[in-house]
């Protein structure tokens, strides 16, 4: 997991999800929000149950929309990047 605006790189190890949910990107997002995100402004990352507008999710260097978005099942060795859209110029 990597966030390039102030890059934070994490290696996350998942086993099978205990609640029987698939270990997909939606699960990863919720998990990051619940376990790793220290800033209380959760709406800066997740809004209405999904990654908020303005955050690009990249799965192995591809926009997640090419990979099935939050339903994408995580594979071992996958690189998932959350990156803020920039607007300055």
């Amino acid at each position: 997991m990597e966030k390039t605006a102030n890059p934070i790189t994490l290696q996350v190890e998942f086993t099978t999800d205990t609640k029987g949910q698939p270990s997909n990107v939606a699960f990863l997002t919720t998990w990051l929000c619940d376990h790793l995100m220290k800033d209380p402004r959760k709406e800066m990352f997740v809004l209405e149950g999904s990654v908020r507008p303005g955050v690009l999710v990249l799965i192995n260097d591809a926009d997640w929309e090419l990979e099935g978005e939050e339903k994408y099942e995580l594979q071992s060795g996958d690189e998932i990047v959350f990156v803020s859209t920039l607007h300055g110029g």
Binding site: A5, P7, K38, M44, R52, D63, E65, H87, G88, G89
Partner: protein, 515 residues
């Protein structure tokens, strides 16, 4: 014997030079033909018997010359073909028209002209191209400079802002002497001295939905060098409606992003076109998450890199050997640059056009009429960032009033700016506790550096503009009582300084750094 050998060598050398020169001429002629008639297939089949090895179109011109006295004729012919003024005949006049670029243009653009990616054909495309640059800031300045340098025929420059001193570390087309000028005018002054062969159209205004599509219609490529989602959606929409490719870039702090949109620029509903900004970002980000360069900071070379890359992409579009084939699937990519990461560059595959896109799909709900009528409110769509206004009136103090208060044992000033800003300038005896977004964590951080909220002294919070200081003041009043045994909110006395250090500079200390 030696004389004979020497003469023979000389003849051989001359023949080789003639052959080489004629091959080059043939290639140039071919490039010209393709440039003038891009739809025609290149002429490869000689029209007359190919024994000479000379392109057919040159046979008539070169064969008679070869049959004449070689030594006398070559020098004369080469002079004529260079278009020298003293070339004497009508024939020479027609030779001059053979050169599609002016003499000085061959030397000015020679270094890119000799590259196969450009060549004469590409240079002519550049000369005929019209490029519109929206925003002459950190992206627009380098983009405009390289496009002017490359010999783009017409550059449209759109900006309604004026040059400020804080622009100059990165917006290199402007100048200290032109602070206060309109940015498009200032850029034109710089660009004209760089390359006076380019025509510069200056628009001293912000782009408006009512006129954007009409403006864009006059140009071949548009560069989005602006700094806000509002203008980014507008420019993308207008590019789709006007059918123009869009080179879009952005930068903040140490990072940049670049994407070429609506390329090829197929009409709305045509899935073979490149995606637009709305395909990639259908919903705008929350206004609170949008940071400007003034708020977040920007390193000059970072935004410079992105602007230079925009010029590069524009040149690639203009000089493309053939229009993008519509049967090739579009493979859009976004280039991400992160100056302090390794690797610094990352190219990411992006989606094609979105089936339900509001502007470029067959289900589009936005039309040229939506823009020209002014019914589309881009500011409302992206949302304006409300200034923070959360503390009670009795918890506010003006900079002027604060400056007259005795401090020392009577009060504590907590500066909630980040450490870097605190390091630039700070008030004596103030304590730096950067605001991080979490009330609990901030209160704890303050305690960790020795702030005693319970000693009965008056607390003050201050920041750059007076927003975060309110959040910190509220954190103290709302978070603290629950964490102090037996203490009530009334025992905690906190005020924030209205308008922050900006107000401090304006009202109290004009020497306070205006960074």
């Amino acid at each position: 014997m030696d004389d004979l050998t020497e003469a023979s060598n000389h003849i051989h050398t001359l023949r080789a030079q003639i052959a080489a020169t004629e091959t080059q001429l043939g290639t140039l002629k071919l490039q010209l033909q393709q440039a003038e008639h891009p739809s025609l297939p290149p002429t490869t089949e000689p029209l007359s018997p190919p024994q000479t090895g000379i392109p057919a179109e040159w046979t008539n011109a070169t064969l008679p010359a070869l049959q004449e006295n070689v030594q006398r004729d070559i020098a004369q012919r080469l002079r004529q073909e260079r278009g020298l003024e003293d070339a004497p005949t009508i024939q020479a006049a027609s030779q001059r028209r053979r050169w599609p670029l002016a003499t000085h243009e061959y030397s000015r653009y020679g270094r890119q002209l000799i590259m196969p990616e450009i060549g004469l054909r590409g240079q002519l495309h550049l000369k005929n191209a019209r490029v519109l640059i929206v925003g002459l800031g950190g992206l627009g300045c380098p983009a405009a400079a390289y496009l002017a340098g490359a010999g783009v025929g017409t550059l449209g420059l759109v900006d309604g802002d004026t040059v400020e001193e804080s622009n100059l570390h990165r917006q290199l087309a402007h100048a200290t002497a032109r602070v206060g000028w309109n940015k498009a005018e200032s850029a034109k002054a710089y660009l004209s001295s760089l390359n006076g062969n380019v025509r510069y159209d200056v628009y001293k205004c912000h782009l408006r939905p009512e006129s954007a599509v009409e403006y864009f219609g006059d140009y071949d490529v548009v560069l989005d060098c602006t700094d806000h989602p509002t203008s980014r959606y507008l420019i993308s929409d207008a590019c789709v409606l006007a059918g123009k490719p869009l080179v879009s870039a952005s930068a903040l702090k140490t990072e940049g992003q670049l994407i070429v949109l609506n390329n090829p620029p197929a009409p709305p509903g045509d899935a073979t076109g490149g995606p637009c900004y709305r395909c990639i970002f259908p919903k705008p980000p929350p206004a609170a998450s949008v940071l400007s360069c003034g708020e977040g900071g920007i390193l000059g070379p970072v935004v410079g890199v992105m602007g230079v890359l925009q010029a590069l992409e524009a040149i690639k579009i203009i000089t493309a050997a053939k229009p993008m084939a519509t049967d090739d699937p579009v493979k859009p990519t976004m280039l991400m640059f992160s100056a302090y990461s390794n690797p610094q560059f990352r190219s990411v595959r992006m989606r094609a056009r979105r089936a339900g896109c509001a502007i470029c799909s067959s289900e589009a709900t936005l039309t040229a009429q939506s823009l020209t009528s002014g019914s589309l409110d881009y500011v409302a769509f992206c949302g304006a960032q409300a200034s923070v206004d959360i503390v009670a009136p009795e918890q506010r103090v003006s900079a002027t009033t604060f400056s007259r208060l005795p401090m020392g044992d009577n009060g504590v000033l907590i500066d909630v700016r980040d450490e870097t800003q605190f390091g630039i300038c700070a008030l004596r005896e103030s304590v730096n506790v950067p605001w991080t977004g979490s009330a609990e964590r901030w209160v704890q951080s303050a305690r960790d550096v020795g702030v005693d909220f319970e000693d009965g002294r008056q607390m003050f919070t201050v920041c750059r503009f007076g927003n975060d200081s309110q959040l910190a003041a509220r954190a103290i009043t709302e978070t603290l009582p629950s964490t102090i045994n037996g203490a009530s909110a009334k025992n905690v006395r906190v005020k924030h300084i209205e308008g922050g250090f900006e107000a401090w500079r304006k009202e109290v200390d004009p020497t306070w750094p205006d960074y």
